[in-house]
């Protein structure tokens, strides 16, 4: 007589156990689909840097970086910033794969406008000149739409006494070389940023790999905006609300800040740069009897590999 001592248990191999718990691994078909999706978005071609992306509305947009560079070289040249124009003309725009992916991702979130900047060092070298040439009289604008003037002399933005005191600090990204700034071509700050403290916005942007603007970036931004909206009723940006300039601070205050304000006078508003009690700099325009709210403009910085 013999007894059997074989185990009656069934063995479920580890492979099946993990499939039950974690789901089956991606199949070849899944991988092919993922690859196909990746390929649908065009990668930049060598020496002809064009990026295809989708806009927020789901339409295809092309960012042609040669063209972007040409436009900005021309912008600086037209504003008598020859050395900056020359410096930027000499660069070769090259983007890493990560940068290209980020542009595509942000494009679908509504970021649609590139601004090309020289290194911070060069910006600071031409600080006063940039302030002057981006706020001088624009013949295309009506008299009352020009910036602040005193006795017929253009004064540019109106700086509050607080802003004038002390050195401006540039915070956020280190910008050793030239860089592209991707922002939204919109007249007013996004509603989602309104009535929020600057510190919170800095944090919020950071979490989305975004950043605010510096004092000098705002000068360039607003002039570029005005030039492209000359025929509109309100050619200047930020006529309804104010913009925290999150990446600039007043040294005397020692906190992140914005610089604020320019100022011009148009027939119905005045542009101001000012600073809040915490040292936060901002820009706003004054219109009588209108409540001003502060928000911020988000941007993404793409440092250019040289």
């Amino acid at each position: 007589m013999s007894e059997s001592f074989e185990s009656n248990l069934i063995k479920i191999p580890a492979k099946e156990v993990v499939d039950e718990l974690y789901g089956a691994p991606p199949t070849k078909g899944d991988k092919d689909i993922a690859e196909f999706r990746k390929k649908k978005i065009q990668k930049p071609e060598k020496n002809k840097l064009r990026i295809s992306a989708l806009s927020r509305e789901g339409k295809e947009v092309i960012f042609d970086f040669e063209k972007i560079k040409e436009n900005w070289v021309e912008f600086y040249r037209n504003h008598s910033l020859e050395e900056i124009a020359q410096n930027l003309d000499d660069i070769k725009i090259q983007l890493t794969e990560e940068q290209v992916s980020l542009i595509q991702e942000k494009s679908s979130e509504g970021f649609n406008h590139f601004i090309l900047f020289p290194s911070l060092e060069l910006q600071l070298e031409y600080l006063n000149k940039i302030e002057n040439v981006t706020t001088n009289v624009l013949p295309e604008l009506k008299d009352m739409e020009q910036y602040f003037q005193i006795e017929g002399v253009n004064e540019g933005f109106r700086m509050s006494e607080h802003v004038k005191e002390g050195e401006i600090q540039y915070l956020g990204n280190i910008r050793n070389g030239p860089y592209l700034l991707l922002t939204k071509d919109i007249a007013e700050v996004e509603k989602s940023t309104l009535r929020k403290e600057a510190d919170r916005l800095v944090e919020k942007f950071k979490n989305r790999k975004e950043t605010g603007l510096t004092y000098l970036e705002y000068f360039i931004f607003q002039r570029d905006y005005v030039l492209r909206h000359l025929q509109e009723k309100f050619p200047h940006p930020d006529t309804k609300n104010g913009t925290w300039l999150l990446n600039s601070a007043k040294e005397s205050f020692g906190v992140p800040g914005t610089i604020g304000a320019f100022i011009g006078v148009t027939y119905e508003y005045i542009y101001n740069f000012d600073i809040d009690p915490a040292g936060q700099l901002y820009f706003f325009s004054e219109i009588e009897n209108q409540e001003k709210n502060m928000g911020a403009r988000s941007a993404i910085i793409f440092e250019l590999i040289q």
Binding site: N8, I10, I12, A14, D19, Y22, P26, A34, I174, G254
Partner: protein
């Protein structure tokens, strides 16, 4: 700069084959392709079995060689030479003459406690020899050995990639900790973050993104994906077997949040329902990140503040205190203008009186709170809401103290102690509810804590942990029936539901005590199915070889342990809803108050259809 794998898959597989090849060349057979493939698969299976047997033999021998641990009676028995092994016993039991001729009383004394292990070890040794022989035969065939090598090379490559996934995960974890420490340090010193700090944090973010991308990339290979997940399951199993907390993603997330606050010097208060794992997570943090056994105050047991700070003792002081006292007294004597001889005489007397004999005296001993501060250890205040308010107020001052600060203990003659690095406070307490008789914690007191709720684990994590407690070291799972797996899943789902009813998050007016007309949900008063309870159900189930249905253990190990009768009825009803006890009648449960109607209304198969 970076560490590399010492051996690449090709080299490892080559070495593996060389190890199993017989020393002498054997005759090469003509083998068909299918036979070579089968031979290589058999070889892989045999090698795994060989490893298991070797491990068993090693472990058995360790136990059998520990003679000193055994009681004397067992030792005596072992001296008898003619002890019976299972085969001898079976032969005797099958012998028709055994009833009358054999002395079973004598035989019974020769069935020794170690025989089970000895017999198994002997059988394993025999099987090992057999297997070694078979391995040599198969590995001696060049073609089989080569196919096996190729298979192993592929497997090793998968292992290495899966190991790298673990590595990338660890990189992310360590970068998070490193970042938290940097921020904590800046905060501690009240220094503004520099540009260099920002740059480092930016780089850390990039490292984490890239490491995550690499993980996804590696996981796109099905073999690596499965191997990585298998490793995770095996890791969970190891943590479970060691009695440690199982570090699932949600636990890790909680850990890093708690640690982030502790590093900033903020005390942490963990709130949660019964069995959610508050104390376990607090202890785990102390062990894992501080590397010490924490000091522990139990709110329900240690009600006096004197227990927390110092304890008065009557008796002879500990030796080190006696030596200290002796030194102090001698120092005083030396101040006096006494002759050398007098000093020596007094010294001898003091030595005898203080050190050798010791005086019976009252003295104070540091309590856990003071010990934690002095020795730089975490302090866990378990069930803080069980401590009277007046005593907790005394803690208020301590909560604002930082490392390096000094603190005076009133109970000990205002002795001043310095808080050492490593001191931190974690408290636990129940969610405010009528279920727990607890003190209401003062809002001002609570504002000093970072408070976080420890929730029951998500269902999918509970399921993974439960399965991990059942798999073997390779990740394979042995069950009586394939349907058992579905039962474990149902058990996990029922656990989540029970937790929901217990916390009040789930509304169920159909259970015992609920009232649909008045919109009143039933509630579990004292019973909740926690992770610990789940283990208590499946552990005996596994130990019994899964031969009984899981529901039997659900009833005996959990439902019947409910201290509130209504809870037992409600639990039985919930399990019926999850298709356990489908054919059971009310009397089968043995729960007082449970009627047939109360059960049938929850058994899906018995419910009337309209």
């Amino acid at each position: 700069m970076f560490k590399k794998f010492k051996l690449m898959p090709g080299e490892i597989s080559q070495r593996m084959v060389e190890k199993i090849k017989p020393e002498e060349k054997i005759e090469q057979k003509k083998l068909a392709k299918g036979e070579i493939e089968q031979g290589a698969n058999d070889l892989a299976e045999l090698i795994l079995e060989r490893r298991d047997l070797e491990e068993q033999i090693r472990s058995d021998n360790q136990i059998l060689n520990k003679k000193d641990d055994k009681p004397v009676s067992v030792k005596k028995l072992e001296k008898k030479e003619n002890s019976f092994f299972p085969d001898d016993l079976l032969a005797a039991l099958n012998d028709p003459e055994a009833l009358s001729k054999l002395n079973w009383s004598g035989i019974s004394r020769q069935v020794l406690p170690d025989q089970g292990i000895k017999s198994s070890c002997r059988a394993a040794e025999e099987r090992l020899q057999e297997i070694k022989q078979k391995i040599a035969e198969l590995a001696g065939q060049e073609k089989i050995a080569e196919v096996y090598r190729e298979k192993m090379e592929e497997k090793m490559a998968t292992f290495q990639l899966a190991i790298n996934i673990d590595g990338f995960k660890k990189v992310i974890e360590n970068v998070n900790l490193s970042e938290a420490k940097l921020l904590a340090h800046r905060n501690d010193e009240n220094i503004k973050q520099s540009k260099a700090d920002e740059e480092i944090i930016k780089k850390y973010t990039l490292i984490k993104t890239k490491a995550q991308e690499r993980i996804e990339e590696l996981k796109s290979d099905p073999d690596v994906y499965r191997e990585s997940n298998r490793r995770e399951m095996v890791k969970y199993r190891r943590q479970y077997l060691k009695g440690k907390i199982v570090e699932t993603p949600s636990v890790k997330e909680q850990e890093s949040q708690i640690l982030g606050h502790l590093q900033l010097g903020i005390p942490v208060f963990l709130r949660g329902h019964l069995g959610a794992g508050k104390t376990e997570i607090a202890m785990h943090i102390a062990w894992k990140y501080y590397g010490v056994e924490p000091e522990f105050i139990s709110g329900s047991e240690e009600g006096s503040k004197y227990d927390m700070f110092t304890k008065m003792q009557i008796g002879i002081k500990p030796k080190e205190d006696r030596i200290k006292e002796f030194d102090e007294r001698m120092a005083e004597i030396k101040q006096l203008e006494l002759s050398f001889e007098d000093i020596e005489k007094i010294k001898k007397e003091y030595y005898k009186e203080i050190i050798v004999e010791g005086k019976v005296t009252s003295f104070s001993q540091y309590g856990p709170l003071v010990r934690a501060m002095k020795e730089g250890k975490p302090l866990i205040i378990d069930e803080m809401d069980g401590i009277p308010h007046s005593i907790l107020m005394r803690l208020n001052h301590i909560l604002t103290r930082r490392v390096g600060n000094k603190f005076k203990i009133q109970e000990n003659g205002s002795e001043e102690i310095e808080i050492k690095k490593g001191f931190c406070v974690i408290a636990t307490g129940n969610i405010k509810s009528a279920k727990y008789k607890r003190e209401d914690l003062d809002a001002a007191f609570l504002s000093r804590w970072w408070s976080s709720e420890v929730k029951y684990l998500p269902e999918e994590e509970t399921y993974k942990i439960l399965i991990a407690s059942l798999i073997d070291k390779r990740g394979d799972l042995e069950l009586e029936r394939k349907e058992d797996l579905a039962d474990i899943k149902k058990l996990t789902q029922a656990a989540t539901y029970i937790q929901g009813v217990f916390t009040g998050e789930k509304y169920d007016d159909k259970l015992e005590g609920g009232n649909a007309a008045r919109g009143v949900s039933a509630s579990l008063e004292k019973s909740v199915l926690s992770m610990r309870d789940l283990w208590n159900i499946v552990k005996p189930w596994k130990a019994a070889g899964f031969c009984q249905p899981l529901e039997k253990y659900i009833l005996t190990e959990f439902i019947k342990k409910a201290t509130v009768p209504g809870d037992a009825i409600r639990l039985a009803q919930i399990f019926c809803q999850y298709r356990f006890f489908s054919d059971w009648k009310a009397e089968d449960f043995g729960i007082s108050g449970l009627t047939q109607a109360k059960i049938e209304s929850h058994q899906p198969t018995k419910q009337k259809t309209i």
